[in-house]
């Protein structure tokens, strides 16, 4: 097992800058003028805070903790550090940009969408993730991604932060390419 830094603060900020540009174009193409943004605790919120600022989104940033919606609750129990979900705008008929740090299985996004619908029926959800990686278990794909690093099945990538932001990889890169 090796633990190594994959990307440092400034490079990640550059990446987010690029994601903001693509998100702006994406929303324009979809004729979405006044989106609201929600970040998923914890890493997704850090990315969302910067995107929210860059895109000058008017409604305050929403934050979701999906602990109460996880599908593995009965296997791993309650998250000991659950934080309150706060959505400080009306979800009903609102176009929403949902932000997370890493998408792998897609289960977190499934849980987040279920929770969002318990706040109201959104007009649409656009999914933005900093990192996309292999391992999808559900038919959920991001609309906008920052980067798709070629990771082996045994490797895990994590965003640490909030200041500085660091992308960390741990695990064995040995069978990279077999995936």
């Amino acid at each position: 097992m090796s633990n190594r830094s994959f990307m440092q603060h400034q490079a990640i900020l550059d990446l987010i800058q690029g994601m903001a540009r693509i998100t702006r174009r994406h929303l324009r193409d979809k004729r979405i003028n006044q989106p609201a943004m929600i970040g998923i605790h914890t890493g997704g919120v850090w990315v969302a805070q910067r995107l929210h600022q860059l895109l000058q989104i008017e409604p305050p940033l929403g934050k979701l903790d999906i602990s109460f919606y996880r599908d593995d609750f009965t296997r791993i129990g309650m998250n000991p550090q659950v934080k309150p979900s706060q959505i400080p705008f009306a979800v009903e008929d609102q176009h929403i940009v949902l932000v997370d740090d890493v998408i792998q299985s897609g289960r977190t996004i499934r849980a987040a969408m279920n929770e969002i619908f318990d706040f109201g029926r959104p007009a649409s959800i656009t999914l933005v993730t900093l990192i996309e990686r292999s391992g999808r278990e559900l038919p959920i794909q991001p609309d906008i991604i920052g980067l798709e690093p070629p990771l082996a099945d045994d490797e895990h990538i994590r965003l640490q932060g909030p200041d500085p932001l660091i992308l960390q990889i741990n695990g064995d890169p040995g069978n990279r390419g077999d995936a």
Binding site: D65, F68, T74, R75, G77, M78, P80, V82, S85, F119
Partner: protein
């Protein structure tokens, strides 16, 4: 088996919630933090979360209590569990069934959790020791022993209003001797590290060993209330008068009833709490109970969030063991 061993698994995670005894500060804080997230739910369009979908929770009440049973039932339903209510007061035990037989019968109905209230101290503990593995027990009040979810909702209320526990001076007023709520509160307050816990009561309503609980004892209400941050009133039960522990409700009110004038001895921003149901004009005046310093109704709302936290933590961990 001690409470400590019985209530948590090897990793210190909640399995049963029977008594405050044996818990560490971080564990109690984790319950409060989890409840904080559940307290946000009423602001949403859908107030339920799907956490305990498919679980069955049985309310096993051998002693009447509308309020506690209802908040447990509501908490379970907001977690998407299915709830069965057994009012054992008028059920099997009156037909001569033993507690263990009752337990086995309800276990056969595949319940994942029992919420137990019983007039005998230690009943929930007894059930926890004999319950099937994977079944969690929550104590909703046993005799004069403990009422841990009530104590935790009181801690939640105090933290919401006062923030940090450490500088606080807290007075508990009334029948400490017969109060399972008071015992659990005193334990929780000391574990959470408040500056001082006072109990204020006539000698006949204090347990002989009260000082060993880590409290300062006062027999004079005004002296005891001086400079406190929180006043917790206890319910005076009428049967205490029948047992000749008190001359009359009127005389009790004269000496220990909380009036607006007496409340002035406490800090100006002191909050007034009461586990309910309140006896207006016996332990508290309407002026105080309905006044700006009273947080009595908030306690009821917070009770739902605390019970959701305890139920979901215990059930999440118990099924974790089964699944692996």
């Amino acid at each position: 088996m001690s409470y400590e061993q019985l209530q948590t698994d090897e990793q210190g995670r909640l399995r049963h919630f029977l008594s405050i005894e044996g818990f560490r500060r971080e564990q109690l804080l984790q319950i409060l933090d989890t409840a904080e997230s559940f307290a946000m739910l009423p602001g949403r369009q859908v107030k339920k979360v799907p956490l305990l979908r498919g679980k069955i929770i049985t309310n096993l009440f051998f002693e009447n209590s509308t309020r506690t049973r209802t908040t447990f039932e509501l908490a379970a339903k907001l977690l998407s569990a299915d709830v069965i209510n057994f009012n054992m007061d008028v059920s099997a035990t009156s037909k001569g069934e033993t507690l263990l037989d009752t337990l086995r019968n309800i276990e056969a109905m595949h319940s994942d959790m029992f919420v137990v209230r019983h007039s005998a101290s230690g009943a929930a503990h007894f059930i926890a020791r004999h319950a099937a593995p994977g079944v969690s027990i929550i104590n909703a009040g046993d005799g004069c022993h403990a009422h841990p979810t009530q104590a935790m909702l009181d801690m939640f209320t105090i933290r919401r209003h006062k923030g940090d526990f450490t500088p606080l001076r807290i007075a508990i007023v009334g029948d400490v001797q017969h109060s399972r709520v008071a015992r659990s509160q005193i334990m929780a307050l000391n574990i959470l590290g408040v500056s001082e816990v006072r109990v204020i009561a006539p000698r006949t309503l204090l347990p002989a060993d009260v000082r060993t609980l880590g409290v300062h004892v006062f027999h004079d209400l005004e002296q005891g209330l001086k400079d406190v941050d929180v006043v917790i009133m206890l319910r005076l039960q009428h049967e205490r008068m029948d047992n000749a522990l008190l001359p009359s409700a009127h005389e009790y009110f004269q000496l220990y009833g909380l009036t607006a004038e007496r409340l002035e001895y406490a800090k100006p921003d002191a909050i007034v709490m009461h586990p309910g149901p309140i006896n207006r004009g016996v332990e508290i005046t309407s002026e105080v109970a309905d006044g700006p310093q009273s947080v009595i109704l908030q306690q009821v709302s917070y009770g739902i969030a605390i019970r959701m936290a305890v139920m979901s933590m215990a059930l999440g961990n118990s099924s974790g063991e089964q699944g692996s």
